[in-house]
Amino acid sequence: MQKFPLATERHRYAQEWKARTGCKIMGYFCTYVPEEIVYAAGILPVRVLGSHEPQDLAEPHIFSMFCPFCRDCLAEGLRGNYDYLDGISHAQSCLHIRQSFESWQMHIPRAYSHYLFMPANLQSPSAQTCLEEELLEFKNTLEKWIGTPITAKALNESVEVYNLNRRLLRQLYELRKGDPPAISGAETMRITLASQFMDKKEHNQILQQLLQELAHSPRKIAPGPRVMVLGSENDDTELVELTESLGANVVIDDHCTGSRYFWNEVIPPSPSMGEGKGEGEHTDKILQAIASRYINRPPCPQKDLRDRRRFTHILKLAEEYKIQAAMLIQQKFCDPHELDIPPLQELFTRKGIPNIFLEVDVTTPVGQFRTRIEAFLETMQLELA
C-alpha cells in the first residue's frame, strides 16, 4: 500500500507534485482559508508549517513574545524551503500568524498573495454575508491570477473531493472510539497532517485503502487510559508518540492540525436550487455553502467570543470518545489558547476529567515531558482505580 508522506517530507512531495502536474501551489497560513476555492482553480493548497529547527531566522521580523509556530513558519520561508510556492494566502485568525504572513509578503514575495478577512464574530448572523463577499473576492483575485474563470462545476467538484476527504477522516477517527482503538493517535495525526499538504484526491485514495485494511486488521494496540489532546497548533507528532509509548491511547483531539480541520463538511446546495439559473447564481449558492461550512466548523478560540461553543463541542467529543484524561498543549505565548486553557482546565476538573498542561516551543522537551506525563498517567490511574 502507498504510504502517506510525513510532514518532514512535505517539501519533497510538493515539488514532485508540481513537476508531475505542472500546476501551481499555494501556501496557506490558517485552516480558515477556504481551500475548496483554491483547489477548484487547479492549484494545490498546502499549509505552511515550521521546521522545528531551533535557529531563529525570524528574530529581526517578529518580536520574541509571539508564538514559536508563527516565527518558525516565517523562518522556514526565509530559509528558502518554500521557494516552490507560487502564491500565499491567509484568513484572519490571530495576530501572531498574520505577522508571519505579512512578513512573507514583504520579504518573500510571491506572484500572488491574498488576505481574506475571516470574521471572528461568528455568533453574529451578519458574519455569513460578510464571509460570502470575502469568498467571492478571493475567487475573483484567483481568476485574475490564473487567467481563467473558476466555474461552478469546478467548485462543485472541488467541494466533493474535500467533503470525501472529511468523511474519510471522520471514519478514521471513528476507529478510535473502540477500546482499544483500531489505530493509534500518532498514526492518525500523521495522516491528518498529510491531508493538509497533499493533493486531496491522492490522500483520499490512500486513505480509502487504509480504511479497508483497518476494517479487516485493526492495529494491535493495548488498552490504556484514553486521552484527549487539545490546544494550539501542533504538528509535532513527538508528544503524542511519547504519550502513547507510556501506555496511554490518544483517542481524540481538538487542534487546528487535527479534528478541527476536517470535522464538518460543506453542505452543497441542492441541485434544484440551481435549476434554470445562470452560472453566477450557481456559484453564489456554492460560495454560500462554503461560507456556512467555515462559520459552523468547530471554532478556534478566536472565533468563539460570546457563548462558549468550543467548550460544548469539546465536551461532546470527550463524551463520545470516552476520554479519561486531557492534555492541554499550548505553544508558548499563544494568546488565543492562553485565553481558553485556564477555563477549560476548570471545566475538565469540574467534570472529573484529570488534565495536564504542557507548554511547547519550537522543539518538544521530550525528557522533561516524559517525567511529567508519566507521573500524570500514574496519578490518574490511581484516581481511576
Binding site: L95, H96, Q99, P119, T129, E338
Partner: protein, 433 residues
C-alpha cells in the same frame, strides 16, 4: 557649548480640566448603580454611543482602567499575581491581567471593584472579546462583542461596513432585551454626533504637532486623549476638545513650545510605561521632545488616510454639512468612522509599517523610540518590521523592551542608559538645567 535656542513655553490650560474629567468619570462609574444608571464594561473602543439610547449609563473601559491601576506598581503586581494564580499566562495583555486581578480580588484604587450589568465590547486584537467573556462568567452577566473588520487593501469595503452596521444594530436589540429598557434613537444620534466631533477635534489637535516647535509633548497628550477614551460620546468631550483646539492653535501661532529647548523631535510607539513617564523627561534633558506616535494617534482619534496615505484629521459633522436624522444614519456614520481610521486598520502589519514611517516623516521626527511592550501583543505586533523600515528610511531608532503596566518586566536603569546612549549617538548632549 553652543547656545541652544529657547522657545516660549507655558503650561497647558486644558490639562487641569482633563484631570478633573478623568477623576469625575471614575466617581460616576463607581456610583453608577446607586444613581440608578446601567453600568457597562468593555474595551476602550467599544461603541460607546450605543448604550446612550437606553438612558442613564456609565461605561468602564478596560484599557484605561488597566492603565490607571498600572500607575500604582504595588497594586499592579497584586492584581497581576491574582490573575496568574488562576493559571492565566504572564505574557497575556497586561491591562487585561490587571483588570481581571482587580475583579478577582474585588479591589480597586477606589475601594471594592464594581459589578457591571452588561459587557459590551469591541473586538480587534485577540484579547478584546475573550476578556469580557471571562468577566461575564465571573459576574454571571451577559456579554456582546462587536468586531471591527480589517480590510486587506486601500479603500473602504462596503461589505465590511454592512457587517459592522449589522452588529451595531444587533447589539441595540440585545441591550434592549437584556435591560428591558426602551431605546431612544434621539439620544443615540446625539451621542454619535458627539463622538464624531470629539474624535475629529482631537485629531486636529494632534495635527498641530507637525509644527516646530511642537505645541504638545506626548506626556501631555496621554493626559489629553483620556477624555475621548472615557467619555467621547458626551457633549462635555466636544466642549473640552474645542477649547483645547483653540489653545493649541494659539500655541502654534505664537510658537509656544511644549519643550522650550526643542532641538530634536522623536517618534514613540507603542504604549508608554505608565508608572515611568519620567522616561520622556530624560529625553527632554537633551532637548528631545516626543511629538508623534502611532499609538497616540490611534486612541480616540479620528484620522483618515488621504489618497497618498497621509493621515489627516477627519471632518466634524458640521464641516461635512451632515446632520444625522435616523438610527440608520447614526450607525452608518459611526461604522464608517471606525473602518476608515488608519490607526485601527494598522492592526495590519504592512499598513502599520508604512504608516509609522510616514508619521515620523510628516511630523518631522529626527529619531524613533520603539517600546517592545510585552504587555500588549496588539501594538507590539509588527514593531520589528517597523524598526527595519525606520532604519531603511534613515530614521535613527532605539528599541526598548518592557511592559506598560507590569513593573516586574521593567528596569529603569537599563532603559535610561540605552536612551542616553541613543541620544548621544544622535550628537545630542545633555543641556544645562
Amino acid at each position: 557649548m553652543a547656545e541652544v535656542k529657547r522657545y516660549k513655553t507655558k503650561p497647558l490650560e486644558c490639562w487641569q480640566k482633563a484631570k478633573e474629567i478623568r477623576i469625575q468619570h471614575y466617581k460616576d462609574v463607581w456610583s453608577a448603580k446607586e444613581n440608578g444608571k446601567i453600568l457597562l464594561t468593555g474595551g476602550e473602543y467599544s461603541f460607546l454611543p450605543l448604550p446612550a439610547g437606553l438612558g442613564g449609563f456609565e461605561f468602564l473601559g478596560g484599557e484605561p482602567y488597566g492603565a490607571t491601576i498600572g500607575t500604582d506598581p504595588i497594586l499592579s503586581v497584586e492584581c497581576a499575581e491574582a490573575t496568574e494564580t488562576r493559571n492565566f499566562a504572564r505574557d497575556m495583555c497586561s491591562y487585561m491581567r490587571l483588570y481581571w486581578g482587580s475583579m478577582f480580588l474585588d479591589k480597586s484604587p477606589w475601594g471594592k471593584f464594581i459589578k457591571p450589568d452588561l459587557c459590551l465590547t469591541w473586538h480587534l486584537c485577540e484579547s478584546h472579546g475573550k476578556w469580557y467573556q471571562r468577566v461575564s462568567e465571573h459576574f454571571g452577566i451577559p456579554t456582546f462583542a462587536i468586531e471591527i473588520p480589517l480590510r486587506p487593501d486601500e479603500g473602504r469595503r462596503e461589505s465590511h461596513v454592512k457587517y459592522l452596521v449589522a452588529q451595531l444594530e444587533e447589539s441595540i436589540e440585545w441591550m434592549k432585551k437584556q435591560t428591558g429598557r426602551d431605546y431612544d434613537d434621539e439620544k443615540l444620534i446625539e451621542a454619535v454626533t458627539n463622538e464624531i466631533n470629539a474624535t475629529a477635534l482631537w485629531a486636529k489637535c494632534c495635527e498641530f504637532n507637525k509644527a516646530i516647535p511642537a505645541p504638545l509633548d506626548l506626556k501631555s497628550m496621554f493626559s489629553l486623549y483620556i477624555v475621548n477614551s472615557l467619555i467621547r460620546y458626551k457633549k462635555e468631550a466636544v466642549d473640552f476638545y474645542r477649547a483645547l483646539y483653540d489653545e493649541v492653535q494659539d500655541r502654534v501661532n505664537n510658537q509656544i513650545a511644549a519643550l522650550a529647548t526643542e532641538r530634536c523631535r522623536l517618534y514613540h510607539d507603542a504604549e508608554p510605561i505608565w508608572h515611568f513617564l519620567q522616561l520622556f523627561r530624560y529625553a527632554e534633558k537633551y532637548g528631545a521632545v516626543c511629538s508623534a506616535s502611532f499609538y497616540v494617534f490611534l486612541v480616540g482619534t479620528a484620522f483618515e488616510a488621504d489618497k497618498n496615505g497621509s493621515w489627516v484629521a477627519a471632518k466634524t459633522l458640521d464641516e461635512r454639512g451632515l446632520k444625522l436624522k435616523t438610527r440608520a444614519d447614526a450607525l452608518q456614520v459611526l461604522a464608517e468612522s471606525y473602518i476608515d481610521r488608519p490607526g485601527l486598520q494598522g492592526w495590519q502589519i504592512t499598513r502599520k509599517v508604512a504608516d509609522s514611517v510616514r508619521i515620523a516623516q510628516e511630523w518631522r521626527c529626527d529619531g524613533a523610540l520603539l517600546h517592545f511592550n510585552r504587555g500588549c501583543e496588539g501594538l507590539s505586533a509588527g514593531l520589528s518590521e517597523v524598526r527595519l523600515a525606520m532604519k531603511k528610511a534613515g530614521i535613527p531608532t532605539m528599541s526598548y523592551e518592557s511592559n506598560m503596566v507590569d513593573p516586574r518586566e521593567f528596569s529603569a536603569s537599563q532603559i535610561i542608559d540605552a536612551l542616553e546612549a541613543f541620544l548621544e549617538s544622535m550628537n545630542l548632549t545633555k543641556l544645562e538645567a
